[in-house]
Symmetry: C2
Subunit: 353 residues, 2 copies
């Protein structure tokens, strides 16, 4: 028995020497078929001006040899990488994961792949990722990072092809897609008030995020419209959306004297809200009896926990898809007017509030 023959005795070139021999080129294929590289290229790219018989011969050889085009060469030649850069603050968060899926699906539909980069919402890392555009490693970018870090990008390169998703600032002049965060927060708080709650706390994220500012305003105004002054003690900002942050914030809120302690908590993310439920449980408060809880996003998880979470649904998938389409459109018409797109949100009422 020979030294090594892990493969079957199949004798096509593909099976024979994969990985061992130097990858063959379009030139080699052309030579074997007896045509020029131009013809092979035309066949490979589906150009019409090739005689059927010729095309068939080329295709047969490609099939037989298992030849695969070298996209490194194609990319240099065509000056495009066919990669879309997606910058997210934290793709561990299911919210972003779902958006990323939306992006990925339309990207792929259009022949692009996705370069996913987790920036940790850090401006430095964001900058260095963004540089991938200038280095021609990606044809365009979708940024989900905080508005404050987007401003830095906008300042230095409003001309590079990128779009903002979820986080945006219309004044930046960059195409964006998101929701009306002010209204959404307003709806959530008004709902709590309608249910008789008066002392509505807000667990908000870092206000580097534009959405955090908008939701804070929506919360404040909804309270004001009910004749309630939003107290500072009711507002806590966390710098991370994970469960523990929510749990701790809720526990802290419950330290307030009985007359001021919130009878409702609006958390700007379902992950936070899940933590809130846990934190409240920890200090012996019942939900919704003692305090109502409303989250944001409507993650799949929201319906599973006890009690099921009242929340503001965002069309996550569509947000991602729209962002990708916006970017693709920007490729097609670089100087078209850049639209800002706002997608609808929806209050989903469940047992928690």
């Amino acid at each position: 028995m020979p030294l090594s023959s892990p493969q079957s005795s199949d004798h096509t070139p593909e099976a024979a020497g994969e990985g061992a021999v130097r990858a063959d080129s379009i030139a080699a294929v052309a030579q074997r078929v007896g045509v020029s590289v131009a013809t092979v290229s035309r066949v490979l790219n589906g150009h019409a001006n090739v005689r059927d018989a010729t095309r068939a011969r080329v295709l047969a050889e490609v099939e037989a040899s298992g030849y695969r085009i070298n996209e490194l060469a194609r990319n240099l030649r065509t000056a495009e990488s066919r990669l879309l850069l997606t910058m997210v603050p934290d793709f561990g968060n299911p919210f972003y994961a779902e958006i990323v899926r939306g992006i990925d699906s339309v990207a792929r539909q259009h022949g692009y792949f996705m370069l996913l980069c987790d920036t940790g919402a850090d401006a430095g890392r964001e900058r260095s990722y963004f540089d991938l555009l200038r280095r021609h490693r990606a044809d365009g970018a979708i940024c989900l990072d905080p508005a404050t870090v987007q401003h830095a990008l906008a300042a230095e390169s409003t001309a590079l092809p990128w779009v903002a998703c979820c986080e945006y600032d219309p004044a930046m002049g960059v195409p964006y897609v998101g929701i009306d965060n002010y209204r959404a927060a307003h709806d959530a708080v008004r709902h709590l008030i309608a249910r008789g709650r008066r002392r509505v706390a807000l667990i908000n994220s870092d206000e580097h995020y534009g959405y955090a500012q908008q939701r804070r305003d929506g919360w404040r105004d909804a309270l004001a419209e009910a004749g309630i002054a939003a107290r500072d003690a009711w507002r806590v900002n966390v710098n991370c959306l994970d469960y523990d942050a929510g749990a701790q914030a809720a526990a802290a809120l419950m330290q307030l004297p009985a007359t001021e302690a919130p009878d409702a908590i609006f958390a700007v993310s379902d992950t936070l809200a899940v933590g809130v439920l846990n934190g409240l449980r920890g200090v012996g408060r019942r939900v919704p009896h003692d305090v109502a809880v409303v989250g944001f996003d409507d993650l799949a998880l929201a319906a599973q926990i006890d009690p099921p979470l009242t929340t503001i649904a965002q069309p996550m998938r569509e947000l991602g898809e729209t962002a990708a389409r916006l970017l693709l459109r920007r490729f097609a018409e670089p100087r078209a007017r850049v639209p800002g797109v706002l997608l609808p949100h929806r209050l989903v009422v469940r047992a928690s509030g």
Copy 2:
């Protein structure tokens, strides 16, 4: 006022024409500095054999002009894409998300970026993604897909640089990292038995996954060792790890006649287990009083829900990191003996079981 001057009056070439003018090349930089392209290239790549003064002049010009290397060209020349392909069945699952993070962090540390592809565990999509290696779009791949689909890859290309993560088959001859699923499941079930449970159900995923088979065996043997025959009625396979699947499976299990109905459920994923808790709640069973629940993975979520989930912890981050390192090592020494790495798991006991 001129037609358009969105930028400040800063007059560096960068600010002046970004996106409008043709990107400048190494040749242009060389010409401006008055050296050859080779020298610029050497400086850019940190080669030692350049006089300090020359290096400084080049660097100054690069800085001033905002020149960025064209990696498309570099990649063609060096015949590497510096991209790592990561194929996951579902990155919406927090389990995979965390692993992907591990991969990403070591990849980046080594100058690689990550091409993330969600295969949906579909063999066809997997194949087409895998083809990215042959097209030189990625230098290597990490596969988290089911063992059955990995077999297809292994058959056609054991020589291509890829590694298996979480899912693996030592017989494939492909480097892998994972945990000992048999032991882990065995530990989980033994724990339930030690707590007095006798009728332990298993909610397992699709047995295309090697881990599903291994965990099923661990479950079966642990029961057998306690003198309990694993009944078919106690075992349900789901083809998706989301919450609802767990909820439905649990509800179905509880339809069994009282004498056979499980007094414990071992679910092979925390997401499933969260659903199980919800499903049990739906049919009025209390956890752990009526039925104990053990999950798998130890997602952050496991500690947050009510009751907190007993589960088998996997070192998710390390799994990803190790996979990436394995792949990187394979680049360095293509013909080195390929190790299979098993990382430790751990039973985390909480209130659910």
